[in-house]
């Protein structure tokens, strides 16, 4: 079984209020060095073993079509 680990994050400049709130909380907790927090998604997908190239292509397509919204998000993934 192959496993894809997908990371979906907001593009730079897109407002990400959850991260802002966590950032404010961390500062309140005394972590004065925190500069910015951005929260995204981490998705694990299990796939039948097969041709690595084909799996890569398919995961890329899945990210583009469903997992990320290219208007506001970017994605990255690795396959184990």
């Amino acid at each position: 079984m192959a496993k894809a680990k997908v990371y979906v994050t907001f593009k730079d400049g897109v407002l990400e209020p959850q991260g802002k709130t966590v950032n404010a909380a961390l500062l309140k907790m005394g972590y004065k060095n925190i500069k910015d927090v951005r929260i995204g998604k981490f998705i694990e997908i299990e796939i039948e073993n097969g041709d690595k190239k084909k799996i890569k292509k398919e995961i890329d397509e899945i990210c583009d079509r469903l997992l990320a919204n290219p208007n506001i998000e970017k994605y990255d993934f690795e396959i184990e």
């Binding site: 897109v14 407002l15 209020p17 959850q18 709130t21 998604k41 469903l66 997992l67 919204n69 208007n71 506001i72």
Partner: protein
Amino acid sequence: MGKKIKFGVVVFPGSNCDADCLWAVRDILNQDAEFIWHESKNIKKYDCLIFPGGFSYGDYLRSGAIARFSKVMESINEFANKKNKFIIGICNGFQILLEAGLLPGTMLHNKNLKFICEYVNVIVENNETPFTNKCEKGQVLKIPVAHGEGNYFCDERTLNTLIATEKIAFRYCDINGNITDEANINGSVYNIAGIMNTKENILGMMPHPERAMIKDLGSEDGKLIWESLINYIKKS
């Protein structure tokens, strides 16, 4: 009087304004209306599809992201490209239309991170459309919103096109029609509350016109939007 307009209210798992939409057009405005389950492909017979508010598929991943791949959506482009066919997406319905690419842009979380459930004022930017012809230009409508992700976002180029081609239907404003930052409840770009596609047969809006149908319940301004569409279809 004459012929009744046929509305279809598309129901997804997690839709929760479907019954209100049906009630608004069928019981208050005396038109034909029925529910369409999201697995149905038979949408040809309707004049207007309504994508109601709610939390389709629990808003998992992103609002509207999963609903946009349902069976009913497979023939949606064909439907939208036909003459005299209309689509209204309200709240989660608007989010679905955005995810499907039927309207440009994306919804972000509200700027204040809160779920906002209250009456808002929106100004009619363009009253020469199928959805607003019964309104005055610049008329302020009082219609409730109920959403956590209604912060409309698009790139500058898209915004400029929307403005130049007058595809912005409604903008958040104060009670006197002033478009202010304070009235921009969720942080939307350009105070946008509702937009249309190029052909002006698809409207997406965050406020719920189906919840503003009776004066004694707070407002009947929502009626103007449905009545505009009924008026437009009957005339064409």
